[in-house]
């Protein structure tokens, strides 16, 4: 059985658009570590605004989503490395916390891909120099990267493939999971726009490419 480790950001984006039923349609297990469960179920459960979404997410446990043990030592190592990656005037800048690190640790431990919609964790895996440049460009301050830490992170996360909710729904549309009576491209375009508005880090050019990939 194939599996993927999920971060809370993708579950939030899909849940906001009532698309979490897709988890049950693929022949892939969608795993979440404990801290992700906290982010999508436990923490918002008593919130005025998001209590209902938390309950809906709770019903997915054991069905679309499977709670999976992660390795706390590995998670803490990832946090330690990521939070000493960038510096300003020799002072480390903390950029990551338990939620994303737990999903990442599960992915590394089990050798499975990562489903994440938030851009910083994705760039931490795929392109740390780009993340540094972005931070420097937006803050206007010099941000240095510890190359040894970057190499160590790269070694640790080697081979981790990252996808977003946008790719997940594209595959779902291609496989005909939506029989809604609308042209596939139009449907996908609307779905990707909705996911983007819900926080999925995908730009307009990428949306265009994904839509055009559908026949």
């Amino acid at each position: 059985m194939k599996a993927i480790s999920c971060d809370s950001s993708s579950i939030i984006a899909l849940g906001t658009n009532c698309l979490t039923w897709l988890f049950e349609r693929f022949d892939t297990e969608f795993w979440i570590p404990n801290y992700v469960k906290k982010e999508i179920v436990d923490n918002p459960l008593h919130s005025y605004k998001f209590g209902f979404e938390a309950m809906r997410n709770g019903t997915l446990l054991g069905r679309g989503l499977k709670l999976k043990e992660t390795d706390p030592q590995l998670r803490n190592r990832i946090i330690g490395l990521a939070n000493s990656l960038f510096h300003h005037k020799s002072r480390p800048i903390e950029i990551i916390q338990y939620g994303e690190a737990d999903a990442l640790a599960l992915s590394v431990k089990e050798g499975v891909p990562l489903l994440v919609d938030e851009k910083n964790t994705r760039l931490l895996v795929e392109n740390r120099e780009q993340l540094r440049k972005l931070s420097e460009h937006r803050t206007g301050k010099t941000i240095e990267m510890n190359e040894d830490v970057s190499r160590e992170l790269g070694k640790l996360m080697k081979g981790v493939k990252v996808i977003r909710s946008s790719e997940l729904v594209t595959v779902a549309v291609k496989r005909g999971f939506f029989e809604w009576g609308y042209p596939k491209r139009q449907l996908l375009q609307s779905m990707l726009n909705a996911l983007k508005l819900s926080g999925c880090a995908i730009n307009s050019e990428e949306i265009k490419e994904l839509v055009e990939s559908v026949e």
Partner: protein, 161 residues
């Protein structure tokens, strides 16, 4: 801290916004949570002085400024937040308080600077849901490059799923 009250008294919206930006930046690079928290309060104050309806009861307004000044001088940011929320409850027009609104706006900026969503959520005490909903409405992602070509990522997704 005295500068903040002076700027509020003079209703200097732009200067308050600039000060909030500066505090946030210093909080980010110096890793000082207190500066980030103060940045949120100043941002909320900039929104307050923009609207006449917050200032319509002069007696209440003067009392608000005096209490806020005391809290800020004492470095008690929690009390300062409560005082701002109280004013907002009396005169504000939205269900959600103005401090929460400012936290979401400032959190969105921290995310743009490279801080992960759950880290921002923890730093500011604002749900990840709120942050994502706000971030999705910004142009942030369109202004940035991508880590990997979209079609290559799609190919990965087809293999994974």
């Amino acid at each position: 801290m005295e500068d903040i009250i002076e700027l509020v008294r003079a209703r200097k919206v732009r200067k308050l916004k600039d000060l909030s930006d500066e505090l946030l930046l210093r909080g980010f690079v110096d890793q000082e949570k207190k500066k980030v928290r103060l940045s949120v309060i100043v941002r909320a104050l900039s929104k307050i002085v923009e609207k006449n309806y917050y200032l319509k009861d002069r007696k209440y307004w003067e009392n608000f400024l005096s209490r806020l000044e005391d809290a800020l001088k004492a470095g008690d940011l929690e009390r300062a937040e409560k005082i701002v929320i109280e004013l907002d409850r009396h005169f504000g027009r939205y269900k959600e308080d103005i401090i929460k609104y400012a936290k979401i706006r400032r959190g969105s900026t921290l995310y743009a600077w490279g801080v992960s969503l759950t880290k921002v959520s923890e730093m500011l005490g604002v749900p990840e849901y709120e942050l994502m909903h706000h971030i999705g409405k910004t142009k942030m992602v369109d202004e940035e490059g991508t880590g990997k070509p979209a079609l290559e990522r799609l190919k990965d997704a087809e293999e994974i799923l």
